[in-house]
Symmetry: C2
């Protein structure tokens, strides 16, 4: 039956293919939320999906779904030491993976390289590796391990909060950011290097193992990213989790409709920030009370004293459905990538209140693209700033126009991001890898890559030629002078 | 009616869109053969296509098809001077384009930048520009005007006959090839720079104008190219002209079937080489007579004396249909890109006899990918070499396996190359450009791009810091010494 589903589903979109066994590496949080959607589609298309999940996982719960095979493994998270964590992982890959292997032969390992060691498992099983990745600090892993070129003059390092248009000072900062992050990454990876070399019994490195990935699925696109060079095995599939809006619950729809022409504002600071100090929530509520729009605020804390008539607090909101509602005028967001992509999908301008991690950088992108006003931070934000920000993005039509432009770019691509992700995972299964997309740079040393040996050689040649030339000139000049002197002496 | 066709056709593949007026710049030879297929599809989808064609064009004949509007212009090809040619073009764009403009507003200019000045017309009309391009020498235009990065350590310059796996000597050669071609290109473009600046009344350059292109449709793909860095507005659409084989004419099919299990060899040196010296054709015929396969040879010259029973000469052959025939074992080709792509499409190994232009380089790619044996040249090739080459690619199964692998890569992509070309042309029409895919590098000077100003600044800072540090060290050491000396003197 599964084979028939597979055959039919492959025929419908991409033509005949083969159904594969896909091993998914442990990952967490928003990484998992995003990846799960790809996995659901792969199961719909008849593939077998096995997910490695540690007992201590927060997000990967076997009970969530019975569509994947969950392969649990023990990990002593009390000690919380990376080495132990890797030990467990490697122990699993050496001793327990064999048992899995007897059950079924896997065709591909799918992982987020933020969660290390999937590369070593792919190597052990002798199968291809597909990464799904958001970014590393200053793109250090993409540049040093993935060999993606990134001129520091116009490619801002991830987390730098810079854009592709940099002043001289910003370019100096970006260069120093690249250099310092590269140095830190090399130091941080040293631990892994030793471990990997020890385990494989030959000198290798974290970066070398990572470089073997067949495909890097990058969870952004040119709606979010500034255009930059990339490589044939980097596929930009940002926003794959976005879907058209579904109808709202009845009471929520009534509240939304009551906003009239002013429309609504959707407000959430993400799943991790559910509560905040009373003083902060009061400041925010007093700001929200000043705008003519109705506000839907996802908040788990105590009701603020200053809460206006126009604002309703919800423990949970259907964020995507609200952002896709025709009455929605603005989105107040902490700037997580998933939420930003839902706003882009539906063309909603944003007020950003960045909290931590990649959020300030994400919002710097949105600000540069003219779709967001960004607050400094939650702690110091004055109510008037929030009011001004909201009024700006709602009343200055350029924000809405830019948001609609980003939305058009987002939707108007040759293939939907979810289909493209599935295509490349299945490509790797069908063709046993995608090594024809992997650049030869991986086999060069750093001085070969940058042609330093070539420059040294050409410089040496040039020096020798110039030296011989000047020596010869000197010789001939001396000879001429000598002759003319002898001549004049004789005379 | 046309509007209905447009609406329906856009709905079927990409969803609703808008039909555009597409202005196609003059081009010639295989460029035109390839582009015409895209234009046919655009007309099928309801767009208006207007082709600028000089009276003297060899390939672009208005009588060929009445599906496009042909807009002829006079050009004095007797004088055959580039300046005159450009003069005519610019005269046309200034004085006659206005008349066209009155008739209908264009949405996009489509051109091969090998045929200059389309950029200036796009600028004058204030509309986007889409390039269809094969390559420039050592990728000088793509690198310097398109800002595509190309590390000389693993990206062989176009026409260098190198691969991505280079020895030290080859890397030195590649570097010198890049440097020399860049210098030559800059000199060659100087003429255009002056002309463009004069015409536009502001300092500009050929390269600057070229850099404004919204999309570069590159007529290759990773089946043919070695993987390399590229940019979001570079789309690799190689092989868009290839189609499944149609049935052969009856007598040809009978001859092909008579080959039995040995199969057939297809032989053509392209449309430009129709005849050759008797001695050469005799040499080739005597070689072909020695193989067990039947040979179909496209040749317009006199019948060679040594022609074997197994070889038939044709004034014209349906090349693509023959390459797609199940009996076909090998393709003897001069190595034109269009022919190579038909062989890749159908998975046929090749014997290459390169003649001129990009053919030696194209065949070097095919040799590196393990699908071709390449002769030195037609003039010196001994019959035994050709026999050995044919026997190798027919009897050593690795050639066929590699050819089938390339064929799989060619077919197994998210979107067919013709559809992808049409998609991006229509994207530019729908969105009035694709500037969001254009890197900020275009707005940097060369020293900013390479961070030379940043390095100079950091180097200066470092020097000053070190200088001050050593001066201070010296001062303190001196002071210490002086004190201890004074002390010892006192004692």
């Amino acid at each position: 039956m599964r084979l028939i589903v597979c055959f039919l589903s492959l025929l419908t979109v991409f033509g005949p293919g083969k159904c594969g066994n896909i091993l998914v590496w442990y990952n967490e949080g928003s990484h998992w939320i995003n990846l799960k959607i790809v996995l659901e589609t792969l199961v719909d298309r008849g593939h077998n999906v096995t997910v490695l999940v540690p007992d201590a996982s927060l997000f990967m719960k076997a009970k969530d779904s019975d569509r994947f095979v969950y392969q649990p493994f023990n990990v002593s998270m009390d000690e919380q030491e990376m080495r132990d964590f890797i030990d467990e992982f490697l122990h699993f890959s050496v001793y327990e993976m064999d048992q899995l292997n007897l059950l079924q032969i896997f065709d591909v390992v799918l992982s987020d390289p933020i969660y290390a060691c999937s590369d070593i498992v792919a190597e052990e099983l002798g199968i291809p590796l597909v990464y799904t990745f958001r970014f590393s600090l200053a793109h250090a892993a993409e540049r040093m391990c993935g060999q993606i070129p990134a001129p520091p003059s116009y490619v801002p390092g991830a987390m730098s909060k810079l854009t592709d248009k940099m002043s001289f000072t910003e370019r100096v900062f970006n260069m120093l950011f690249y250099l310092s992050q590269d140095a830190l990454a090399i130091i941080a990876w040293k631990k892994f290097d030793n471990y990997y070399s020890e385990y494989l019994g030959r000198p290798t490195s974290f970066c070398e193992m990572m470089s073997k990935a067949d495909i890097w699925l990058i969870r952004t696109y040119w709606d979010f990213e500034f255009p930059r060079p990339f490589l044939p095995n980097f596929k930009y599939i940002g926003g794959l989790h976005c879907t058209p809006a579904k109808p709202l619950p009845k009471d929520m729809e009534e509240f939304v409709q009551s906003s009239g022409d002013d429309g609504i504002v959707v407000f959430t600071l993400g799943s991790l920030i559910d509560k905040m100090p009373k003083e902060t929530s009061n400041r925010i509520a007093s700001a929200l009370a000043q705008i003519p729009q109705k506000v839907l605020w996802r908040y788990g804390g105590e009701k603020p004293d200053t809460l206006g008539e126009n604002t309703r607090i919800y423990k949970w909101i259907p964020q995507n459905d609200l952002l896709g509602h025709p009455k929605t005028r603005a989105f107040i967001t902490h700037g997580g990538t998933n939420g930003i992509y839902e706003a882009i999908f539906h063309g909603v301008p944003m007020v950003g209140i960045p909290l931590f991690g990649d959020q300030p950088d994400n919002l710097a992108h949105m600000k540069a693209k003219g779709v967001a006003v960004v607050m400094d931070n939650l702690k110091t934000m004055r109510p008037q700033e929030l009011v001004d920000g909201l009024n700006a993005i709602i009343n200055d039509s350029s924000y809405k126009e830019n948001a609609m432009h980003l939305s058009r770019i987002h939707h108007d691509r040759p293939m939907k991001p979810l289909d493209e992700s599935v295509f490349w995972i299945e490509f790797v299964v069908r063709n046993k890898g995608a090594q024809h997309l992997r650049v030869e740079a991986h086999n060069l040393t750093w001085y070969q890559y940058h042609c330093l040996d070539v420059f040294a050689f050409l410089f040496t040649i040039l020096t020798v030629v110039l030296y011989v030339f000047f020596k010869m000139c000197k010789f001939f000049i001396m000879r001429c002078c000598f002759r003319s002197k002898r001549k004049s002496k004789k005379e």
